[in-house]
């Protein structure tokens, strides 16, 4: 939505360029500035850190004293993870199964939007037909429709038309995620595609290549970075989503981690040994994706977005 087609690359700390902020920073007595940034950094990391420390402490310890005592007398265990992932009692998390549900939901919910949006973006950027700009503006404008506007009727549509049960209902979760992702995805990929050099595509046309071939052989390889940005964005969105999952999935064979965790937080709000380790199980995959592909993710953010 933010519509910055020409998102600036993120310069690293070594960028030689002198910037306004750099000057401000230099002029401020840097002791004061360091203290302020340190306080913010602490506020932003300590909560997650505390959760992690708690998740590896024994249950009795978690429940009887604060996680900061870990440093005074460290006690380490993996029992919480063992229990929350594979425990068999009804009160344990049984998160391993939900983890797989999350994967089964996420993979197609990323693939479909990627492909559909890339195709649509190509048509909007590189074919000529009457009303093209209006289709583009229409798709763009749909970004603003909150998905709350679609939930109830779409669910009714599914239950009255298909009545999917059990694992078949994964399909309706995929469908919902794909439909809700298209306005943003098309917009982002279109921005990127429209910037491609026109002569490359013109040259391919002159060689007699049709649009389908140009899309496959010329455009797709060039837009890999944009696909990666949107793919990561969509992955994090779907993996972390609670609302769509609550509405469109039912039963422990389909519901993802987020739904199970929200449930545990509600019904077993004081079982911190399960909540801390469970939360960490749900965080770990997006965190890995995020840390390893941060560059693409940031680029996607800078290209701008409003989702849902």
């Amino acid at each position: 939505m933010t519509a910055h087609a020409e998102a600036p690359a993120i310069p690293t700390a070594t960028t030689p360029q002198r910037t306004a902020a750099g000057r401000v920073r230099k002029r401020l007595t840097s002791r004061w500035a360091s203290a302020a940034s340190l306080i913010i950094a602490l506020l932003w990391t300590v909560p997650t850190f505390g959760l992690f420390i708690s998740s590896i402490r024994p249950e009795d310890e978690i429940k009887s004293n604060g996680w900061w005592n870990f440093f005074a007398k460290p006690q380490f265990t993996l029992d919480n993870y063992q229990e929350v992932l594979f425990g068999t009692s009804s009160s344990s998390g049984r998160l391993a199964g939900f983890f797989i549900n999350s994967l089964v939901i996420t993979i197609p919910s990323v693939l479909f939007p990627l492909a559909f949006c890339a195709l649509a973006a190509y048509a909007l950027a590189w074919t000529k037909f009457r009303g093209r700009d209006w289709v583009y503006i229409g798709i763009f404008a749909l970004q603003i429709v909150p998905l709350q506007m679609a939930l109830v009727p779409l669910l009714q549509f599914f239950s009255s038309t298909f009545d999917l049960e059990g694992t078949a209902s994964f399909a309706q979760v995929w469908f919902a995620h794909t439909a809700f992702a298209i306005p943003l995805g098309t917009f982002l990929l279109h921005n990127f595609m429209a910037e491609l050099p026109g002569d490359v595509i013109e040259a391919a046309r002159v060689d007699g290549a049709g649009h389908a071939r140009i899309f496959r052989q010329v455009v797709l390889p060039l837009i890999v970075p944009a696909l990666a940005s949107f793919g990561i964005f969509q992955f994090l969105w779907v993996w972390n989503d609670l609302l769509v999952a609550l509405v469109f999935s039912s039963g422990s064979d389909v519901r993802p981690l987020t739904v199970r965790l929200a449930e545990l937080a509600g019904t077993r709000g004081n079982e911190w040994q399960r909540l801390t380790s469970g939360a960490f199980v749900s965080i770990v995959i997006p965190l890995i994706v995020f840390l390893s592909l941060q560059r693409f993710f940031v680029r996607g953010l800078l290209a701008g977005s409003v989702k849902g």
Binding site: A21, G66, F157, L287
Partner: protein, 327 residues
């Protein structure tokens, strides 16, 4: 403690179906398009656009229109009731609290998150460990709202005197300072602010990244000229940095505002909207899927839509302007 792989088999089969369906759809589409490629652009464009447009029509456009219609009907959508659902929204004590809370969220989250993001971006700009420092603030963006809700619920955790030591960091700090521990999330009134803090915590990283990139894009000549004029750091910040990044600031504020209006997961996970903490999106869910009242939930959804609507006009104007400039 064993894991039953067999129970997972149907899910895996389903995943396989999904991927096969994906490959089939894309494969067939590209094959067909190869055939028609020689002809007019219009038909090719239609093929390229078809999947996206079909999904949007079934998944978003038709449902949105139906929601609009439902909002003027009764709970099970059998009778036309006019504006009754909207009147309920503004007249009832409990729904007025929902609107008041949403207002608090949308006033506080964008402003505080943007301020923190901006200050931090300026402070760490060109510092030695800039990329690490930025990653720390940015990390919460990768964490689900549910995960963040649990993280902060743990910070706010409360133990009564009989239960022994405090295990929540906030209450422990209160104890260290000589105060009395509180059950923060049950304190009607202040509890909304404790939930708001969570979204600020998540969104500040987004603000920081976008603003940091904007700050680095300020041309060196401008700052150089200002420096020669002998401005103080304070003046530099207000007269050079902030005006230069105004467009980025607007974008950040608008984006966070929209995300805030739709906040759902945090409230759902931390209080489920109880203790007077509900917001529009949560109330919409509760009305639709707990109370089973489609009329009221639809009216809330439409109201949410109206709140975010001005932004689309602003954005369309921006796009048009850019297109005209490009021509």
């Amino acid at each position: 403690m064993s894991f039953d792989w067999e129970a997972e088999a149907p899910k895996m089969t389903m995943l396989l179906y999904g991927i096969v369906a994906f490959l089939a759809i894309i494969g067939v589409l590209l094959l067909v398009l190869d055939r028609v490629s020689g002809r007019k652009d219009r038909w090719v464009a239609l093929g390229f656009l078809a999947p996206a447009v079909i999904m949007l029509t079934i998944g978003l456009i038709i449902p949105a229109i139906r929601t609009l219609a439902f909002s003027f009907m009764n709970g099970d959508s059998t009778q036309f009731v006019g504006l009754q659902n909207y009147l309920w929204m503004f007249a009832q004590e409990e729904s007025r609290i929902v609107l008041r809370n949403t207002l608090l969220w949308v006033l506080l989250v964008p402003s505080v998150a943007t301020t923190v993001g901006l200050v931090y971006a300026v402070l760490v700009d060109r510092a030695r460990f800039e990329s690490v420092a930025k990653a720390l603030i940015f990390m919460p963006m990768a964490i689900s709202f549910v995960g963040a809700g649990i993280i902060w619920k743990f910070i706010y955790a409360y133990r009564s005197a009989e239960q022994g030591e405090q295990i929540g960091l906030l209450n422990q700090i209160v104890v260290w300072l000589g105060g009395t521990p509180q059950n923060w999330l049950l304190e009607e009134g202040p509890n909304t602010f404790f939930l708001i803090a969570v979204l600020i915590w998540i969104q500040a990283g987004f603000a920081m990244v976008v603003l940091s990139a904007a700050i680095k894009a300020i041309p060196a000549e401008i700052t150089e000229a200002a420096r020669i004029d002998g401005v103080t750091p304070w003046q530099m910040f207000w007269r050079v940095t902030v005006p230069s990044i105004r467009p980025a600031l607007l974008v950040v504020l608008v984006t966070i505002s929209i995300a805030t209006l739709k906040v759902f997961d945090i409230v759902r996970t931390m209080t489920a909207g109880n203790f007077k903490t509900s917001v529009i999106a949560n109330e919409m869910y509760s009305q639709a899927f707990v109370a089973g009242d489609n009329g009221r939930s639809s009216a809330l959804a439409v109201f949410l839509f109206i709140l975010v609507m001005p932004i689309v006009f602003y954005q369309i104007r921006q796009i048009r302007r850019r297109r005209q400039e490009a021509m």
